[in-house]
Subunit: 166 residues, 2 copies
Amino acid sequence: MLLSKSCVYGVQAAIYMASLPRNEYVSIQEIAGKLNISFHFLTKVLQNLTQAGLLVSYRGPNGGVALARHSSAISLADVIDSIDGSDVFKECLFGLPGCGVADPCPAHEHWTTMRSRLHHLCSTLTLEELGKRANQLNVRLANAHGPMNPAKLLATMNGNVDATAV
Amino acid sequence: MLLSKSCVYGVQAAIYMASLPRNEYVSIQEIAGKLNISFHFLTKVLQNLTQAGLLVSYRGPNGGVALARHSSAISLADVIDSIDGSDVFKECLFGLPGCGVADPCPAHEHWTTMRSRLHHLCSTLTLEELGKRANQLNVRLANAHGPMNPAKLLATMNGNVDATAV
DNA sequence: CAAATTTCAGATAAACTACTCTTAATACAA
DNA sequence: TTGTATTAAGAGTAGTTTATCTGAAATTTG
Ligand code: SF4
Ligand code: SF4
């Protein structure tokens, strides 16, 4: 996978927040529940985003996290950068150290054009746009089942479908 | 990284073999040495490629591995498929299970176009072409330093530069 | 046949990623 | 004030990936 799972979770959570009618504090528990992500794990991921200045957080009852800027001012690349680092769009297909134009590998030329296209796409895709799409029909955000643990596994085997999925 | 390290090693080795003037048996030790890859690890990786039918192997002195077909008949995608599986070009940016057109996430449309371009690129890039480029000036194949171990680290700190790199 | 060279196979260890759990710190509400 | 809901922080666990090591099987050479 190009992105780490942490990063994917962060992106999903960000899109979820952008899909809400108003930008208000949402508890991480709610996000984790809706997206079928481990609460504790998502907490860590979103901490990265608050420290990066993309989210603001508020502790205590009715607290939670909210977008620090308008959803139109946050790009997909912003979120990815904050979690997986900016190397995602700089590193190459082969991940060799010290790559560059001066000393390229045979695939360099082909790859860099792909890579810059991908970077451009992610930089121009705003959370606003992604949030809007998330609100349209037949578009989903949540993981199908979320991380499996023995209890959940048992529940699914008993025919209980998790109803928290969007 | 999009590709696993195993896969990268396999691709590098394949390109190295394709860059040779004639397709003859090359010992894995030689390849590992030139590319600064752990010999034992590369052995396992190339086993995958031989089992996938991309390489043929021969045991004993003067044995080694060689390309099973002409380098023009092996694509980059072939190598990647054999090691990391064919999901690399099928799975999505977010790696969600059970994704598809019927139930897409907000970024689906954008991503699939990128993905198919990448797949097309890798499918049409042959080892022959990559090997030719590898033979041109200023083009390299090897890892800069290879996997570090305490002894090597010490050596580099003492100013010894590994001379096995291409 | 014996020795050397090479891939093949499997066990083991180290490193990393994903995930869980516990404890604090903070802020609101009764 | 006291209790509770919430994020913050960090330690701990499990699984996967990466790398190392050892021995066996195959093949050539002498
Ligand atoms: S030369 Fe380019 S394509 Fe090749 S490994 Fe370096 S950055 Fe990647
Ligand atoms: S809908 Fe498309 S882009 Fe979204 S997670 Fe699935 S395959 Fe990926």
